[in-house]
């Protein structure tokens, strides 16, 4: 039951003809040359499907970029142009707050003031703290649900499960009132707290992975004198690093994209997060016509940090997730 983290795969795997992954425990090591499967009709079809899906996935992003680089005020004149209409970086200047009010309005923007870097910092702070809390507390709870036996466990788990089903519309206002009563409005804690301690999803998600880990692993650890804390910290967490990283990333994205709650409790300038600031591009524009160029530019800019984060961590996920011999 050796828990071995697989070394990075050879680069060949990244090519279309690479061997199917799937843990790919290759007993022969790297000495034996990998058989490259012939490009059968099925494989060609599969690749076509995958490439097709990727194209469908990417096109809207291209369209965002194309729109962001257009001059918002003339955008509607050439709806079918695949290239930006009267290309300009004006929309990005608006996002970074570099354009004057007049410039912004001439291009269909609102001209409201924006301190981009401040909002970015707030977003990073808020999303990081929320994610840290959710992952740590979520993993702890998931462990207690999955690998420990205690009275009321199933009942509590079922209750937690129902939390997943409570329509957010149901809880947000009381939570708002609570924040007000605690005097926390327009502070970081107000934005963070309701998400910090628990999100049913994290517990549910990790518990499912913890369940899949063979109990022999931890029993062995127990024999070595580890208590639950030790087992959790030294065995379970390292073994589940892949799911945990995945979860962390997903929760980070969720926290990053959260809009209404921070708008509610943290719209003041000094704690305003990026999404709230970006609302400016949405509904502050004249006559309900979104400043499409500005909005798309803002969206790209707001998504960029998360995209980068993903680009960095996804490799880590790939490399850490390939266990062999767990079962």
């Amino acid at each position: 039951m050796a828990v071995t983290t697989e070394p990075s795969r050879p680069a060949a795997d990244d090519t279309p003809t690479g061997t199917a992954g799937g843990g790919g425990a290759d007993p022969g090591g790297r000495v034996r040359p990998r058989r490259r499967p012939r490009p059968t009709a099925g494989r060609v079809l599969a690749w076509t499907a995958l490439v097709g899906i990727m194209a469908i996935t990417l096109f809207p992003f291209y369209w965002m970029l194309r729109t962001a680089l257009s001059d918002g005020s003339v955008l509607a004149t050439q709806p079918s142009s695949l290239l930006p209409v009267e290309p300009t970086t004006g929309a990005f200047e608006r996002v970074f707050g570099l354009a004057t009010t007049e410039e912004a309005q001439a291009q269909g923007g609102s001209g409201a003031a924006i301190s981009f870097w401040r909002y970015l910092l707030n977003s990073v702070l808020v999303a990081t703290v929320i994610t840290a809390g959710q992952v740590v507390f979520g993993a702890m709870a998931a462990y207690a649900f999955a690998r420990m036996r205690w009275p009321g466990r199933d009942a509590v788990f079922f209750l937690f499960l129902t939390a997943l089903m409570v329509p957010p519309i149901f809880t947000q206002l009381p939570n708002f009132l609570l924040m007000r009563d605690l005097g926390l409005l327009n502070t970081y804690p107000a934005i963070i707290l309701p998400f910090f301690f628990m999100t049913p999803f994290a517990i549910f998600f990790l518990r499912q992975f913890f369940l899949g880990i063979s109990s022999e692993v931890e029993e062995a650890a127990r024999l070595d004198g580890s208590g639950h804390v030790g087992t959790f910290v030294r065995i379970i967490v390292p073994m589940s690093w892949g799911p945990i990283t995945t979860l962390a990333l997903l929760q980070y994205v969720l926290a990053w994209n959260e809009y209404f709650w921070p708008l509610l409790v943290g719209s003041a300038q000094d704690v305003r997060v990026l999404t709230v600031a970006l609302g400016i591009f949405r509904s502050q524009t004249p006559q309900g016509t979104p400043d499409w160029a500005g909005l798309m530019a803002a969206t790209l800019v707001a998504a960029l940090p998360v995209l980068l984060l993903f680009a960095v961590t996804s490799r880590k996920i790939v490399n850490s997730i390939g266990f062999s011999g767990i079962k």
Binding site: G21, A46, L50, A141, M148, G152, I169, T171, F323
Partner: protein, 332 residues
């Protein structure tokens, strides 16, 4: 539903282990050591309970304060005529009675179910396809990054981008349709199209994310199973049905429960695009609740509808978990 002593069906993979009584050399068939508990075992159990309490405490705090208590209040308000600004008067089940006779509610129910059916159906199939394609074809981080990209963009923004791209008159999709000689489709303006459109927009955003979750599950499937099957000359198709799907089932169940619950709560996309229209064709439950509570300050009634939504979701979760038996190892 649970007790301290091991109860319920002892399933081969009971993950909780048989904690209380560690037996040095565990025989393969578990279940030994379930005899009378010694004082030492009881003490150990007490210690274990304490440790468990410690593990669970932060989550319990968050749950109690930010989920449980507000929900209880919501339940209470569903029995009142609360309108936010005056003291709530108890009205018994009047709100629930009204609900039975409210055609808009039943329409919202129908619309929501249609949405969920399309959204979950298409999304699950696509996500599974993507996950398996990635799993069997390539480990490429690039591919994975691409498919999950839509999820990195906020809901509201995704809705807006598609609203823009699918515009009946100047959207690029209709421009393309016109280019090949087709009539424009009013994706968000046509009563027949609006729900399928919104459902597919959300499929676009979530399929990669769902695929990633499934992919993580696929990674847990030992690769040697595939190697062995391949040696036996099994086709990819056959391996999918005999290896991938059965072993993925617990993860698939979790993912289904979560995506379906999320699907029932669709709101942002509707609010940003069709806003319930045309003629109630996109008035999903959550949007109806929002409308009642927020636009019409009818909080008591909105709470009643929320409670119904909550009950539906709980039923969905229970049924699904039973059907897929993902929880057989503990909730049974």
């Amino acid at each position: 539903m649970s007790s301290t002593a091991p109860s319920g069906p002892a399933l081969p993979q009971s993950p909780a282990g048989d904690g209380p009584v560690p037996v040095p050399a565990r025989p393969p068939g578990r279940g030994g050591g379930r005899g009378a508990q010694s004082d030492g075992a009881r003490a150990r159990q007490r210690r274990e309970n304490l440790v468990a309490a410690g593990f669970i405490a932060p989550s319990l705090l968050g749950f109690g304060v930010f989920y449980f208590w507000p929900t209880l209040r919501g339940l209470y308000f569903s029995l009142t005529d609360f309108d936010f600004f005056s003291a709530p008067a108890f009205v018994g089940l009047a709100n629930y009675q009204r609900l039975l006779e409210d055609p808009t509610f039943w329409n919202a129910m129908r619309v929501t179910l249609l949405y969920v059916a399309i959204n979950i159906g298409v999304q699950t199939v696509l996500a599974l396809a993507i996950a398996v394609l990635m799993h069997r074809l390539t480990q490429s981080t690039f591919v994975r990054s691409v498919v999950v990209m839509p999820y990195l963009v906020a809901n509201v923004v995704v809705a807006l981008v598609f609203f823009w791209m699918l515009d009946a008159q100047i959207g690029i999709v209709n421009q393309a349709l016109a280019g090949v000689g087709l009539d424009p489709v009013a994706f968000f303006g046509d009563e027949a199209w609006v729900i399928p459109t919104i459902a597919l927009v959300n499929v676009w955003r979530h399929m990669g994310y769902t695929a990633l979750l499934l992919f993580a599950g696929l990674q847990m499937i030992p690769g040697h199973l595939y190697e062995a099957a391949r040696t036996d000359g099994a086709s990819e198709w056959r391996m999918f049905w005999s290896i991938t799907l059965p072993l993925l089932r617990p993860v698939l169940a979790v993912v289904l429960v979560i995506t379906m619950i999320g699907s029932f709560q669709v709101f942002d996309t509707v609010a940003v695009t069709a806003a319930g229209g045309p003629a109630d064709a996109s008035r999903v439950l959550q949007y109806y609740i929002f409308d009642l509570a927020f636009q019409r300050l009818d909080y008591g009634y909105a709470s009643a509808v929320s409670v119904v939504l909550l009950l539906i979701l709980m039923a969905v979760a229970v049924v699904q978990l039973r059907l897929t038996r993902a929880n057989e190892s503990d909730l049974g």
